[in-house]
């Protein structure tokens, strides 16, 4: 039957890919016709099926968008990591490019998500876009930190993800749609940011940027202090992130310590090696990018 061809079209192991399988849908439609139509129960269940399908399809569309957001955000973060501070013109260029790409993500992907969420309770689909949103917040705050050594409030990030809808011809008023930036998502994104800042710190040592290391360490300490104060009942994520953050902070502090203690005795370019040898833990892999 058409099932065989359908299966070949699907990407391997990709159990979310229902929407693209047109022939399977047509086969199912035939199946609907064959069942006895007259029963009340059957009629109501057909309605239910439509409702559930609509909800699942929406969920899947948001998941796809969210994955694109995640990939692009991770690439932007990598881009920002390539900044070699001693070469300022390059830094400007890289930051501009990062900003441009962030704006692209906002304008295209998040707007599409906002469209999907019109008229729906966003919490119902939160799990679909949560990962993408956190990754994006990580990228955005990292960018902002490189520009101004501070991170934006979530209300500011929300503004970037709010889109004006013009009044339509049918007389609907001009309104705003948005992808909600929940404070919890923001905080989890900042938690991830600490991991990136730790990497930056270590890169800085390799490049001889010792002041930047101290600055990063101080910032990281502040963030950790706040996270350590949270009561994480009901949100396991926070507990995990706090634990990872503590490790990142410990590494950063070790770096600063090593700079302080051995900075005078070892030439700068060998300092990086010295630090690497003093750290035991391999870094976690964050997944595909």
């Amino acid at each position: 039957m058409s099932r065989g061809g359908g299966r070949g079209n699907r990407r391997g192991g990709h159990r979310f890919d229902r929407g693209g399988d047109q022939r399977l849908r047509e086969a199912k439609d035939e199946q609907y016709q064959l069942i006895d139509d007259s029963s009340e129960i059957i009629k109501t269940f057909k309605q239910f099926a439509l409702q559930l399908d609509a909800k699942h399809d929406r969920h899947e569309r948001i998941v796809k968008l969210s994955r694109d957001v995640t990939i692009e955000s991770k690439r932007i973060i990598f881009l920002i990591h390539t900044i070699n501070s001693s070469n300022d013109s390059k830094k400007e260029q890289i930051l501009d490019q990062a900003n441009f790409r962030l704006k692209q993500v906002e304008a295209n992907l998040f707007q599409a998500i906002a469209q999907e969420l019109v008229g729906e309770d966003p919490h119902q689909f939160l799990r679909a876009f949560s990962a993408g949103l956190q990754e994006y917040i990580e990228a955005k705050t990292f960018y902002q930190f490189m520009v101004s050594a501070s991170i934006p409030h979530w209300n500011e990030i929300q503004k970037d993800l709010t889109y004006a809808q013009e009044a339509t011809e049918e007389g609907a008023e001009a309104s705003e749609i948005l992808t909600p930036v929940l404070p919890t998502e923001y905080m989890l994104g900042v938690g991830d940011l600490t991991g990136e800042l730790m990497r930056r710190c270590i890169n800085c040592v390799g490049m001889g940027e010792l002041d930047a290391c101290k600055q990063l360490c101080g910032f990281l300490r502040q963030v950790y202090r706040i996270f350590a104060g949270f009561d994480t009942f009901g949100y396991k994520e926070f507990g995990r992130k706090t634990y990872v953050m503590r490790q990142s902070l410990a590494k950063t502090e070790n770096v600063c310590y090593t700079i302080q203690v051995r900075g005078s005795e070892v030439p700068k370019h060998l300092l990086a090696q010295a630090i690497h040898m003093s750290m035991d833990n391999p870094e976690e892999d964050e997944g595909f990018y």
Binding site: R15, I42, L52
Partner: protein, 190 residues
């Protein structure tokens, strides 16, 4: 708990008494849901709904079971919502989630499988046949749904075992000649 009494004494009038007391309790549920609705801010239903999801599913199950025992028919989504004091649609306020309603129906099917067994034990031989017809229609309906691999799907997979059990009961009853004559069976089934 009240509904568990129907297993003990499945004579029709006893059953109806249980149903009436349940209905009284459903009215209490209405006030509780109203209080809950007052606490939850608008548009944040799904933010908090995991807290009461289990209770809602159980209540949906009880309402549909009561309804079936009273009328032999499937309680519609709107009827269940109304019995519990919930709106059927999200736009109208604190609402009954479709998936909770469906989970309740599946729980009802399991309960009916048990009920069928007990009916036969107490000598009521045409009720299992009614139940069998009802549950297989339910099964046919559920087969039309495209389910994700979530808890609803798992419960739906359990439904076929309930169907099987009920059919075995009907088989046991028929093969021993305990089944009422064909004319009676049609009346009982309708």
């Amino acid at each position: 708990m009240i509904m568990q009494n129907v297993h003990q004494n499945p004579a029709q009038d006893e059953v109806l008494k249980c149903c009436n007391s349940s209905r009284a309790n459903f009215a209490t549920c209405k006030t509780h849901y109203a209080q809950l609705a007052a606490l939850v801010p608008v548009n944040q239903f799904y933010h908090f709904n995991d807290m009461w999801r289990f209770a809602t599913q159980k209540l949906a199950f009880l309402v549909s079971l009561t309804f079936f025992l009273e009328t032999g028919k499937l309680a519609s989504f709107e009827e269940v919502a109304e019995s519990l004091g919930l709106k059927p649609e999200r736009e109208k306020g604190f609402h009954l989630d479709l998936e909770d309603y469906l989970t309740g129906l599946l729980q009802m099917a399991s309960e009916l499988a048990r009920f069928a067994t007990n009916s036969v034990t107490s000598g009521n031989y045409d009720r299992p046949i009614e139940i069998s017809k009802f549950v297989s229609e339910l099964n046919a309906g559920f087969r039309l749904l495209n389910l994700k691999n979530d808890s609803l799907r798992k419960k739906f997979d359990a439904l076929k075992y309930d169907v099987k059990k009920i059919e075995e009961i009907v088989y046991d009853v028929s093969i021993r000649g305990l089944r009422p004559a064909a004319g009676n069976a049609d009346q009982a089934g309708n």
